[in-house]
Amino acid sequence: MTTEVAPIVTRRLAAQEPWTLQSYLSDGGYGALRKALTMPRQEVMAEVDRANLLGRGGAGFPAGRKWSMLRKAEPVYLVVNGDESEPATFKDHLLIERDPHQIVEGTLITAYAIGAAQAFIYVRGEFALGLERMIQAVEDAYGHGVIGANIFGSGFSVDLVVHPGAGAYICGDETALLESLEGKRGFPRIKPPYYPAAIGLYGAPTVVNNVETMSNIPWIVLNGGDAFAALGTETATGTRMFAVAGRVNRPGAYEVELGKNTFRDLVYDPKLGGGVRDGRELKAFVPGGASSFWFGPERLDFSLDESKVKGEGGSMMGSGSVIVLDDTTCAVRAAWRLVRFFHKESCGQCTPCREGSGWLEKIMRRIESGHGRPQDLELLMDVCDNISPGVSWPSRWPPNMTTICPLGPSIPPPVVSSLGMFRDEYLVHVKEGGCPFG
């Protein structure tokens, strides 16, 4: 049974026109900013540290720790990542369109805590309505006196610019996003330096946080980090939004308490996914976005705790997307489509990713279309091993890398998982010269 807790980031989404300043103010909006500005910066940071808020973008790095890693130099920048593009992930899209002021308030509080006088919200270019709502929110927030000079008479001043992307999955990677924000091609930066906290935007120390992460900040400031940490479990605090997609009765984005709930709750709870469509059987599910290793039905009772999903499960909750495949789904076709995505979105800097993704896509396509050869199964694993050395089934976390950014090791999971779980299905494709699912 899903635990019943009051939602945090989605609590206003069903309100009437929740994106307006009026609606936000009537729910106590910008009260958290007012409170934060009366606190010393270190205390705001300490509350977020106590909350143990793990980044909600995909990497799951503790937000408080990220802030405290900033190199001591002036200026520092804050960049909010709203470039949500991971296949079947659609939670930030909702937050941007329906509660932009919550993101703005979280951003302003964070800017105050880290001492940034300039913040950017990078919104995926395709989100036209989201951009309109976000820019309007900044206009109205400025008029209300919460952006600009000497906010609430505190002496703190900050500007906030909404920046549009232009269509590139790779810009969700924080260093590629910074390149894009600098007006360049979205090429992830060579490491080291490992963190933008040392060298980020324009070479200055920079915090990059996800939209959902920012949306949690006002609640944490108002209610305290301990109240947030009291939700969930010790290793998985608070709530999180999950986008449940694929063959379920109620695809949608749902906020649930972490740690105490399971993937089964997300898929089968009548208030959440509502079960597999048409009474079919669940064949497998992708637990954390296209880049994650797949789980079979025996893993449905895994709790929503990133440390367990990685440690015991060898996969990740990643972007918070759960894709349900039922027994009418062809595993080869599903995996092929994900590989094709990575091939298209590879930025082309690193050979294993650029070439490997193309080879995998071609081999998968020929198997699916009935032209595969028995030795192709070995060939697929060999190419995967060249992209992510040692990759195997059952999977282990984290995968090894041969590339600048994590897009490389994101390519093998759909191939290795589908081959590991449904090898027979591949063999039928090869032997019968076609897809048994038609």
Binding site: P75, A88, E126, V161, Y169, A334
Partner: protein, 190 residues
């Protein structure tokens, strides 16, 4: 199909003023040029380069990286059909095939009347309503083949011109706050 209009040059200068480093305004300026002409002409990109003190190659290098920026003309309506995993499971390829037959063009091409460009795209983050598509980045969900034909008919009849602005227009809300103060007539007060 030309350089930016005087009004857009002013908008461009305002946008540049928001950033600590001018080049950061490159993608917003390219969107602006695309809003003006529906696509990015060479003259527009050269003008953007002048405004940012970049070389035309630097501008083209960035423009050519991003899927939303077109350096060739596209139709008034860019129809972007998602075929990624969540939509695939709900018949996206069948929808794409149907769309190609309704519009009479292959994905990646434009109708002879220059009204529609059809393209297959990656996940557009509207998977709760799969299969989904966007027209000039305005989203439509749970699209059936019949629903697609009705949508096309309404676009042709101009019934959706409020909801769906011409290709290139992203945000119809423009930033007005925190810009450099100006005297009457839009001239900068330096």
């Amino acid at each position: 199909m030309a350089r930016l209009t005087p009004e857009n040059v002013q908008r461009a200068r305002d946008t540049i003023s928001l950033y600590p480093v001018a080049r950061s305004a490159l993608i917003p300026l390219l969107h602006m040029a695309q809003e003006q002409d529906g696509w990015l002409s060479e003259e527009a990109m050269v003008h953007v380069a002048e405004l940012l003190e970049l070389t035309p190659a630097e501008v083209y290098g960035t423009a050519s990286f991003y899927d939303m920026l077109f350096t060739e003309p596209v139709g008034r309506y860019l129809v972007s059909i998602c075929t990624n995993i969540a939509c695939l499971l709900e018949g996206a390829y069948e929808l794409l095939e149907h769309a190609a037959s309704t519009l009479g063009v292959r994905p990646g091409s434009t109708t002879p009347d220059e009204l529609f460009t059809l393209e297959e795209v990656e996940c557009i983050a509207d998977c709760g309503r799969a299969p989904c598509l966007a027209v000039n980045w305005r989203f439509f969900g749970d699209v059936t083949p019949d629903g697609f034909d009705r949508l096309v008919a309404r676009l042709r009849a101009g019934e959706l011109s409020d909801e769906v602005p011409p290709h290139g227009t992203l945000s119809r809300v423009r930033r007005t706050v925190g810009l450099p103060a100006r005297a009457e007539g839009g001239r900068e007060r330096r």
